[in-house]
């Protein structure tokens, strides 16, 4: 959270207070302080936007993207601790979420479309969303956008995609796990 941020919908300013509280100041000057969990409860679940005429649900947001290209062994002394990923150079651009996938417009290079069907896992971090694909992982860092909103929208899109094929999503991380939806005999 930056020092003071502003809600795009109602214009209220909010900033962190003592401990993990959030202080909001509405446009008519009212100020209120509550713990983050209390605000979350009041705000309710994140609303998944309907796709617009161009199919866009969220975005465009400025992002920094990098993908894994492989992995290398990691040691401490003579002890092998495990494997860590190696990455492509970071690319900046804009990204939006559509019902059929993500569209990434890098500042340099061709437009990339990442179909929803190619996503094998979804994991949010504090400022990034990490997407698993069959042969690599991509980390998307939001320069301004909300990780929670993007996670919620991507989660909804993934649930809908698998639901259309007759599966219920059990978990999205570390990879998408589904089970068949029982169909009733008629």
């Amino acid at each position: 959270m930056k020092r003071t941020e502003r809600c795009l919908e109602c214009g209220a300013a909010f900033r962190r207070g003592l401990k993990a509280t959030i202080i909001t100041r509405t446009t008519d000057g009212r100020e209120e302080t509550r713990p983050a969990a209390a605000w979350l409860e009041q705000l309710g679940p994140v609303r998944v936007p309907e796709p617009g005429p161009d199919g866009r649900m969220v975005g465009p947001e400025r992002v920094r993207v990098r993908s894994t290209v492989g992995q290398k062994p990691f040691y401490y002394g003579r002890a092998f601790l495990g494997w860590i990923e190696t990455y492509t150079p970071t690319r900046t651009g804009t990204m939006d979420v559509r019902a059929d996938g993500l569209l990434f417009l890098p500042d340099r290079g061709p437009v990339e479309h990442w179909p929803i069907a190619s996503i094998t896992g979804l994991q949010p971090a504090s400022a990034t969303v990490q997407l698993g694909f069959r042969d690599h992982m991509t980390s998307i860092r939001f320069l301004e956008g909300s990780v929670r909103l993007w996670t919620r929208v991507l989660s909804a899109v993934l649930h809908e995609h698998w639901g259309r094929q007759g599966y219920h999503v059990l978990e999205l991380q570390p990879h998408i796990r589904t089970c068949r939806v029982a169909t009733s005999a008629t």
Partner: protein, 227 residues
């Protein structure tokens, strides 16, 4: 013989040196300037032998707050992406953290965990798998419970409370607050060698672990979740 071929390494970790002990004592020495750091149940932490320390996860500072009260190196599982920066990677391995890859089952991380336990070392895993967004206890990750059912070592439940107020994951800076770390009484889960047995025992084991952590926090426990 290639020098760095993993098949030929004898696998001995460096002994803890000045860097480790400096980081280990940092929280107890520095945090009292900003807030209290209280510990309960330290007598429950075994002084020797292996154990699996399973705790909730509120803040990026949790390893410092928790492990400062355990007077020997604790091996901590951390997501592999945290090792992307070479400087950060060296800093973390100096505190005996080791990587686990996400988006795939990582048998290397599981084997390393079991090996550390077999060699008599404690291992620390956050059962929620990631930091809480809103300060509440999150559902447990099944993978951690499966390791606990495979390992056959004492489970030491641990609760950390207050570190969310220090540095919630949605903010970029830490603030002063009081932190409490509570260790619970160790217990044993059955050691199950067959996958089907572990899957059958998973819900009950998860409830036992989360129940212990929740009791230390004074909150209702959470259960394995459907996403």
């Amino acid at each position: 013989m290639p020098r760095r071929d993993i098949r030929y390494l004898n696998g001995h970790l460096p002994q803890p040196g000045r860097y480790f002990w400096f980081m280990h004592r940092l929280a107890r020495r520095v945090w009292p300037w900003f807030g209290s750091l209280a510990v309960e149940g330290k007598q429950h932490v075994p002084l020797t032998g292996p154990f699996l320390l399973i705790s909730n996860h509120q803040s990026v500072l949790d390893p410092f707050f928790i492990e400062t009260f355990i007077d020997r190196p604790v091996h901590q599982m951390a997501k592999s992406t945290q090792f992307a920066s070479p400087l950060f990677a060296r800093a973390m391995r100096g505190c005996y953290a080791y990587p686990v890859r996400r988006f795939q089952v990582d048998p290397t991380a599981v084997r390393y965990t079991l090996r550390r336990l077999a060699e008599g070392d404690p291992v620390h895993i956050y059962i929620e798998g990631e930091r809480t967004w809103d300060g509440t206890l999150q559902p447990p990750r099944p993978g951690t419970v499966r390791i606990a059912l495979k390992a056959g070592v004492p489970i030491v439940p641990c609760a950390i409370d207050g570190s969310y107020d220090v540095w919630p994951r949605w903010d970029r800076a830490a603030r002063a607050a009081d932190v409490r770390v509570a260790f619970g009484k160790p217990f044993l889960l059955p050691q199950l060698h067959h996958r089907t047995d572990r899957e059958r025992a998973l819900p009950h084991a998860a409830d036992r672990i989360m129940g212990a952590i929740a009791a230390l926090l004074g909150v209702p426990p959470t259960r394995l979740a459907d996403d």
